[in-house]
Symmetry: C2
């Protein structure tokens, strides 16, 4: 018998051709991640900057030598070869440029915080929706395989039970230079300050822990720290759900680097201390206690918490790009944009709005809009 | 040359002769700890119980067969051979019996929560003071050598900097039996419920982290969980200091076992996850990050947090008894009682009072009395 003909392999999908709008530092991490992906995933086709020189220098550094330079953002948006835009501009510029990206029919990978408020975000999401383009924010840790493993454990109604309390602290000790000059302390650029920066991760991690159920009420902690221009440098809040769950978070530019999330359930406890940026790229840990009890007479624990290690061939930012390009290629092939990502983004922004409102009202309780 | 005569060794001090007032479960842990100490430290001379039988059974179990039985608390207090009393009665009985202990000139090792409110505690401390007897509460983890090592690190103004945020969660998942019958859910016995039980440790650990500086204000979390009799089963609060430090705690009878304290400083971070009852008796861990920064472009941490392991020959409860007996022997030799321990107890109770007041006022801010 002759063997059957080898099945015809479909050609690998054409790589998604990105335009980068602005030469922010964080764009170097994104371009590095694209280089790690297999061919056929992502390439940087063009870089747009208000300065030709800056764009040229950026291109020479990032390993995509064929990328075109655009001396204006507008010019990049007109480039028909650009299929998707990675947009790391300051938050105050998101609405005009993100809606312009969508209006040109280009997919949008948008840096967080995605907008200054939910109304702004809705303008962006509405534009993406109207054009049928994929939207995703750049919360990288969501794409780490550790996060999926933790999700599995927290969702286990026997081993973990019901979530009751969540604590999150995301912080880093900003330099004097940062506190003077970084866009994240400038009211005209990133007016949400620390709340929009690492506070975004606190809120997202808390929502993640409760499978994106919105809290009912938030109350900001008193005495948030602001700079002279009124931009938040350190703040916190307590979140309340209808069923009695509570969460507490603190975010700060004024404390040692921390990316802690602890989830306390009726039967289990999960600790992770490097959620947002894992200690190392290739593997990430967390620890879980389940049905812990005492060695009598309360002289020890049994069972002890267990450490879990999740390895990954690709760092989380590369997995994020991979997921985004997969979705773009799906839309290119006639599919619909994935609605899960904008929905999660919006919930994060809605809670962030409520925290900001509570801060602005001197720590009054604020109901969370849906 | 003839060698000099060996110096005359002073005789070892006579063991402190304890009376145990009530046969609570926790007393078994204390008697076990006494047996671990070298001779000349502590012995149980007598046990007082409202039931002769219960006292006899208790004595047969604890390894002090020579201990006398007293069929009433009053009778134990009249026993001239009893030099110090360990008092694990329900909190509502502390004032009459603890003041009676002091009035008889006996030293007092008092179970926590020490009193239902600061006014009650002051009656007890006043009685101890008037009689010149040593007072100590039974917060055991304070005596673990790990705690001293952590203190050293948190106090390091360079490696740790200034404390900014503290999170504490102390909880265990109480059985149905506990939630029905334990003294800690009975309004007439331990009316402070979970706040007096594991909440005590949250508050103490937070005060410990700031070297016992009292907060200015506390605000209880909304929606504390109470049983039908109105006793707290789960609650929390945020604490505010004048210099902007904040702390958050949650305590619960309804979540998996947790004894977490995390201290966030300007330069350092400390994590401990088994503060109150270490996972194991002979060694205890914690982890410290100091001056953590990113591996560029934010793909890792450098330096990584470090794990510290502190070993101990004696478990923390034995070290607690050892410290208490040392102080009693010092008073016996003409010294004055050590004021550090009652001062720490009182601060814990003062903050606990404020949290309770805020709970009772529907989460209104409450100023902390000094």
């Amino acid at each position: 018998m002759s063997s059957p003909a080898a099945p015809v392999q479909p050609p690998p999908p054409r790589a998604v051709r990105f335009g980068v709008l602005g030469c922010a530092d964080i764009a170097r991490k994104i371009s590095r991640a694209m280089l790690m992906l297999p061919p056929g995933a992502a390439t940087i086709a063009a870089v747009g900057s208000r300065s030709d020189d800056k764009a040229r220098r950026f291109i020479s550094e990032i390993g995509f030598p064929a990328a075109r330079v655009h001396g204006s953002y507008e010019s990049l948006l007109e480039d028909p070869d650009v299929e998707a835009v990675y947009l790391p501009l300051p938050t105050s510029l998101h609405v005009p440029w993100a809606t312009a990206v969508a209006a040109r029919g280009k997919h949008l990978l948008l840096e967080k915080p995605t907008a200054l408020c939910t109304a702004e975000l809705d303008a962006i999401l509405g534009a993406c929706d109207a054009s049928g383009v994929q939207f995703m924010d750049t919360t990288m840790w969501i794409h780490n395989p550790r996060t999926a493993k933790m999700r599995e454990i927290v969702s286990d109604k026997d081993a973990f039970g019901d979530v009751r309390v969540i604590n999150s602290m995301c912080s880093f000790r900003a330099s004097e230079e940062f506190l003077k000059n970084d866009i994240r302390v400038k009211p005209d650029l990133d007016a949400l300050g620390v709340l929009g920066d690492v506070g975004w991760y606190c809120i997202r991690s808390i929502l993640w822990a409760v499978d994106y159920e919105l809290p009912e009420t938030v109350i900001a902690h008193r005495h948030p720290v602001k700079n002279q221009a009124g931009v938040l440098l350190a703040c916190g809040a307590t979140l309340y759900w209808a069923d009695g769950k509570t969460a507490n978070f603190n975010c700060s530019f004024l404390a040692n680097l921390a990316f802690d999330v602890t989830v306390y359930g009726t039967n289990g406890t999960l600790h992770v201390t490097d959620l947002v940026i894992p200690y190392e790229e290739s593997s990430a840990e967390f620890s879980v206690a389940s049905k812990s009890s005492f060695v009598k007479p309360t002289i020890g624990w049994d069972p002890l918490p267990e450490k879990h290690v999740v390895t990954t061939d690709l760092p989380q930012e590369a997995l994020m790009i991979q997921e985004f390009t997969r979705l773009v290629q799906n839309v290119r092939a006639g599919g619909r944009p994935e609605g899960k990502w904008p929905a999660i983004t919006r919930k994060t922004q809605v809670v962030l709005d409520a925290v900001k409102a509570s801060i602005d009202k001197g720590s009054e309780p604020v109901e969370v809009a849906s």
